[in-house]
């Protein structure tokens, strides 16, 4: 064991709701950093080969990309205190190039990390109770959840509680540290799925029975990548006490039967598909064989974790205060922003604000150090010091007084954070693509930039309406193109980039996998192709239909004919 120096607790805002580490958590992080520092030093000294070092660095979130190392930092279920956000800004400025990239796993990546700096970065993260453990490798990755948790009107169960329980259960789980492949879990506590549960290795829908008891619907075997598949529901109800026992059973079956010999067939989705109904049977047999009591979720532990996420002290307010109504009436730009950026809040007089990280022509998900620090200040002033990261690469201030919305919007504007495009065509999910990623076969970011510039005018975006346009730079599908209403996949064709288009994908309760529409388009032609698709949609849609609805009604033919019509 390496000697470590005890560190004190960070000063999170009093009412920020996040799991607060104890002394044991902090001591563990210090030990882990000391261990990794030794590994890094042995690598630099030549005592470890790259083959020996690679799995060690990956388990600490450190990748080697095209131009530099990349450090992926875990943001448990996308939840940050303002103290943590400010520290991320500091890290971006001191050790990166002044920015970070928020990911579809609700994490953040620093793209210009140096090996010699990484332990200092991890120490800075540990100072605010953060780390990069299990952000890579064949282990259970960051559990994601609803960015509106604790605020959404339709929430039945607070998913943060169970996401945190899963985080604690899965962190360094000795049996599941070397799974056949990576493993991703999403948890939602609302009947409206906002976490893409059906395209996760496990999707958990927390709900209540008639008596109010908490239980879980469990979907298994969803995923994107080379073989996109929707998950299969294997249990309609797992009682709260059996939650971890059931999860343990699923992971054990996968760990035992997953196809380790072929990386392309190693995800649980392939196992579930190939086994069919027998997979659920195998899980049930394993579940029955696991002793109940040692794995039972103790209500006292659940209550203790739930206390971390108790509602902040909301003021007694009324909806639609006069100042807010007047500002909306008198300022068209503000009114336009409120139309897409706001979600109703369970507490009267409050709203949840989604902050776009998709400025026109910008890099989806990127935030500068200045923006991070300013957002930390705004979160403290307007949202109890809390910030959430969304899987669509935006940020959320979950609890903002409606009477503060105009002032908040005025503050966001000069920061480049008031783009009124949430849920519209320029709110694009895009992976880093070949501009950074060593696995990518084509660029994603400049395609996203060109599309957002083509549709920059807000009136045009509003005319098109709700649209999910997702872009991946390789078949691994980090940009979730399979579940975009319009999905774009960049591939390599004889050394040059071309882009395949899929249509009809969707996430949520009526999830679907997009269908390939036809031959790929060149880098230069792909934006025109998107425009053609959207023109066809606008011409052919029925009132109230989203793009995906029109596609489902009409099928691929009119879109294909429009795209591939002879000039």
């Amino acid at each position: 064991m390496n000697a470590v120096t005890p560190v004190g607790a960070p000063r999170h805002p009093e009412h920020a709701r996040l799991y607060r580490y104890d002394a044991i958590d902090r001591a563990f992080l210090q030990e882990r950093i000391a261990e990794f520092r030794g590994q890094v030093q042995r690598r630099i000294d030549g005592a470890l080969t790259e083959d020996e070092f690679k799995p060690l660095r990956l388990m600490n979130g450190l990748y080697l990309q095209l131009h530099a190392y990349m450090l992926r930092v875990a943001i448990p279920y996308g939840l940050l205190s303002s103290t943590q956000m400010r520290q991320l800004g500091m890290i971006a400025r001191r050790w990166d190039r002044g920015f970070g990239h928020f990911t579809t796993r609700q994490n953040i990546q620093f793209n210009w990390t140096k090996l010699e700096d990484v332990c200092a970065m991890l120490e800075a993260l540990a100072d605010v109770d953060m780390h990069a453990i299990q952000t890579s490798g064949n282990c259970i990755r960051n559990v994601t959840t609803d960015e509106y948790a604790g605020a959404a009107c339709d929430e039945v169960v607070d998913p943060r509680i169970y996401a945190e329980i899963l985080r604690q259960w899965s962190t360094l789980h000795p049996e599941f540290t070397w799974l056949p492949r990576k493993f991703k879990i999403a948890v939602t506590g609302s009947p409206q799925d906002r976490v893409a549960a059906q395209v996760h290795d496990i999707g958990v829908l927390a709900k209540r029975d008639a008596g109010g008891a908490v239980g879980f619907e469990v979907w298994v075997g969803g995923g994107l990548g080379r073989t996109p598949l929707l998950g299969t529901k294997i249990r309609d109800w797992v009682p709260e006490a059996d939650f971890l026992r059931f999860m343990e059973a699923v992971l054990r079956v996968y760990n035992a039967l997953g196809q380790r010999e072929n990386i392309y067939r190693a995800r649980i989705k392939i196992l579930v598909r190939d086994m069919g109904a027998e997979f659920a049977g195998a899980v049930e047999r394993e579940f029955a064989a696991i002793p109940r009591d040692p794995y039972a979720l103790d209500p006292a532990i659940v209550a203790a974790i739930a206390a971390h996420f108790a509602a902040p002290p909301f003021a007694a307010l009324a909806d639609e205060p006069a100042t807010y109504v007047r500002a909306r009436r008198e300022n068209a730009e503000f009114a336009a922003w409120t139309r897409n950026a706001l979600r109703p809040h369970r507490a009267p007089g409050y709203a949840s604000v989604t902050i776009s990280l998709k400025p026109i022509g910008g890099i989806p998900g990127d935030a500068s150090a200045d923006q991070m620090e300013a957002l930390a200040d705004l979160a403290e002033r307007y949202s109890f010091g809390e910030i959430r990261v969304t899987h669509s690469q935006n940020l959320v201030l979950a609890h903002v007084r409606q009477e503060d919305l105009f002032t908040l919007w005025q503050a966001l504007g000069p920061l480049g954070l008031a783009t009124p495009n949430i849920g519209l065509v320029s709110d694009i999910i895009a992976c880093p693509g070949m501009d950074y990623c060593a696995l990518a076969t084509a660029r994603s970011i400049p395609v996203a930039q060109r599309i957002s510039e083509r549709f920059a005018r807000l009136d045009r975006q509003l005319e098109i309406g709700e649209l999910n346009l997702n872009i991946s730079g390789c078949i691994n599908a980090c940009g979730h193109h399979h579940v975009g209403h319009i999905g774009i996949l960049g591939v390599d064709k004889r050394g040059e980039e071309v882009y395949q288009i899929t249509l009809g994908g969707n996430q949520g309760n009526d999830a679907s996998i997009g269908e390939l529409i036809g031959p790929a388009f060149s880098y230069d032609a792909v934006v025109d192709a998107v425009e053609t698709l959207l023109r066809t949609y606008v011409d052919r849609r029925d009132p109230g239909e989203r793009f995906v609805d029109t596609y489902r009604r009409l099928g691929a033919v009119p879109f294909r004919e429009a795209l591939y019509a002879p000039a």
């Binding site: 690598r43 630099i44 030549g46 790259e50 080697l64 990309q65 095209l66 131009h67 530099a68 190392y69 190039r97 002044g98 920015f99 793209n111 990390t113 140096k114 090996l115 010699e116 022509g361 910008g362 890099i363 990127d366 500068s368 200045d370 923006q371 480049g416 070949m434 501009d435 950074y436 060593a438 696995l439 076969t441 660029r443 970011i445 400049p446 930039q449 390599d492 050394g495 040059e496 980039e497």
Partner: protein
């Protein structure tokens, strides 16, 4: 870093590349046997040398890259490798992006 998958045997002159261990920057094997961050200093080998990848403890994951020669200077044939020469095709740094936008 992962080198490009499924590489076929080289049919054109090659240079050798990898990433510096200490900071991950792109490295090119230079004429004097050292590794340089500048492809202009890279030594060009005949295609037959592609399989004889030099190893150096300061460089991670070396591999051969096919190049075209113009005025004696090597330019990678594959777009991916050209990006490794130039860096990201997008302006990543926010301050620079804002400056360009204004």
């Amino acid at each position: 870093m992962s080198s490009p998958a499924k590489l076929r045997p080289a049919t054109a002159p090659v240079v050798f590349t990898g990433n510096f261990l200490s900071d991950g920057r792109v490295a090119w094997l230079a004429g004097d046997g050292t590794w340089s961050p500048r492809i202009a200093e890279a030594r060009v080998f005949p295609a037959e040398a592609a399989a004889r990848v030099p190893q150096d403890p300061r460089v991670v994951g070396p591999y051969a890259v096919e190049v075209d020669l113009a005025a004696g200077l090597p330019t990678p044939r594959r777009f991916r490798e050209r990006l490794r020469v130039t860096g990201p095709s997008v302006v990543a740094e926010p301050a620079l992006r804002l400056a360009l936008a204004s």
